[in-house]
């Protein structure tokens, strides 16, 4: 019960961070909040007879989220090294 509410709160805060942050790393941190909250909720929903399945799915979620974060950070650092830009408004065009 208490975990579900906490996770819902963390997820909503993650959405808020994605909406209001201007620095791209802040947006990525918001996405991390959502993924972490979802993983805990997955385990809450899967406790009981599906516990092993929920744990293994949580493990795969962990892998996917880590890959997402690493690619995202590589993009941020490369974009900054190329154009010295790290804020979301400064990326008007995707090409080039």
């Amino acid at each position: 019960m208490i975990l579900t509410v906490a996770c819902a709160g963390a997820f909503a805060l993650g959405v808020y961070a994605v909406l209001v942050r201007r620095e791209i790393i802040g947006i990525l941190a918001g996405a991390e909040l959502m993924l972490g909250a979802a993983a805990v909720q997955l385990l809450v929903a899967g406790s009981g007879e599906f516990a092993a399945g929920a744990s293994s799915f949580g493990l795969i979620l962990l892998v996917v989220a880590a890959a997402e974060a690493v690619v995202g950070l590589a993009l941020i650092v490369t974009a900054y090294r190329r154009a010295k830009r790290s804020r979301i408004e400064e990326f008007g065009e995707v090409s080039g």
Binding site: M1, I2, L3, T4, V5, A6, C7, A8, G9, A10, F11, A12, L13, V15, Y16, A17, L19, V20, R21, E23, I25, G26, A29, G30, E32, L33, G36, A37, V40, Q41, L43, V44, A45, S47, A51, A52, A54, S55, S56, F57, G58, L59, I60, L62, V64, A66, A67, A69, V70, V71, L73, A74, L75, V77, T78, A79, Y80, R81, R82, R87
Partner: protein
């Protein structure tokens, strides 16, 4: 209030406090500290929900790996000289309303475990291995392929960035 309830409550408090700090902190240092608290809280939640394997993996991958990378990226991108870089945000009521509405909907809709029941049994790593190498083998292999793809993608991104 049993020891398990106390552990669950402290894990939930850590998750909420860390998430609030991550979403609202103004300095980059506080942001990373809060994100670390959140990730540690998630690991404690995993432990309280009876999955020590997942908790250890969470600490290993996120706190030892991803968070260090986030800190590296902040050091590269940070603009201040010597000062801790600012992480700006444009707060507006619309976003707050969306987040609040989402919180209410999620808190109502998502399935809950009734409070006060006995702490869940520990899931042994062997049971997880049985699922991952049994019925979940396709997802397991796909996760491996995804990791390889991510590795190559990072190499390509970083190399192409260095040429200019």
């Amino acid at each position: 209030m049993s020891a398990h309830d106390l552990a669950v409550a402290s894990a939930a408090a850590l998750v909420l406090a860390g998430a609030a700090g991550t979403a609202l902190a103004r300095s980059a240092t506080r942001l990373v500290l809060s994100l670390g608290a959140f990730l540690l809280g998630v690991a404690l939640c995993f432990l309280a929900l009876g999955s020590p394997l997942l908790a250890a993996a969470q600490v290993f991958v996120y706190i030892g790996g991803v968070l260090v990378l986030v800190l590296f990226a902040l050091m590269v991108v940070g603009r201040g000289d010597g000062e801790s870089p600012r992480v700006e945000s444009r707060h507006d009521p619309g976003a707050a309303l969306v987040a609040l509405g989402l919180f209410v909907v999620l808190a109502i809709v998502t399935p809950k475990r009734p409070s006060g029941i006995a702490p869940p049994e520990m899931v042994s790593p062997l049971a997880v291995a049985d699922v991952l190498l049994g019925s979940g083998i396709v997802a397991f292999e796909l996760a491996g392929v995804l990791l390889l793809a991510a590795l190559l993608a990072v190499l390509v991104i970083v190399k192409s960035g260095g040429e200019r």
